[in-house]
Symmetry: C2
Subunit: 110 residues, 2 copies
């Protein structure tokens, strides 16, 4: 049906899925990597950098912001978008914990 049954999962699973899903698109990965690379982080730069129209990029930025991966500060005519360290750390910790658990089990199964 195209609708996800969020009610049936834990809060943690749902919020994690939102965060991860937001990164599950090459354009948004490219945006994140660009923000990581440069010091200045204005939307206009990204429009020049990526092969997408301005409204499309604006939309991707909105999704990244809604998910909590980036923050946006208004600065005159332009907007300064920056990475949100807290949530990126959350993802890092999640995968770190997971791989440690998995290595401890020594891949017994299979």
């Amino acid at each position: 049906m195209g609708i996800t049954k969020t009610a049936d999962y834990t809060e943690q699973q749902n919020s994690l899925a939102v965060l991860i899903k937001a990164l599950g698109h090459p354009a948004r990965i490219a945006i994140i990597e660009y923000l990581l690379k440069v010091d200045s982080c204005i939307c206009g730069d990204i429009v020049k950098e990526l092969p997408l129209a301005q409204p499309t990029i604006s939309q991707h930025l909105k999704e990244l912001k809604n998910a909590g991966l980036i923050k946006g500060n208004i600065e005159g005519t332009s907007i300064c978008y920056c990475l949100d360290l807290a949530n990126l750390n959350l993802l890092k910790n999640y995968f770190t914990k997971m791989t440690i658990t998995l290595e401890e089990k020594e891949n017994k199964c299979c």
Copy 2:
């Protein structure tokens, strides 16, 4: 248009997006977490565990397998699905590197 312009991004960005996208759904996160929790990992168990119909779970498992997050070994009538440590490590390393880079910059911007 609903179609992603993959041709315009790097190989790394595209394959990473596929991997991350596969985890961007609470059902698939729940499946991964279940595989991490239990030692035996047969699809039937997951059907009992999750509030989804068997075809739906089969589909999610297929997506996880295509993305390279899990591996499946046929074992008689049932199939043993297991986590793929290599790709989970890849994700771990990606986010670790990212957060380290970001912390080094001390969030100068904004």
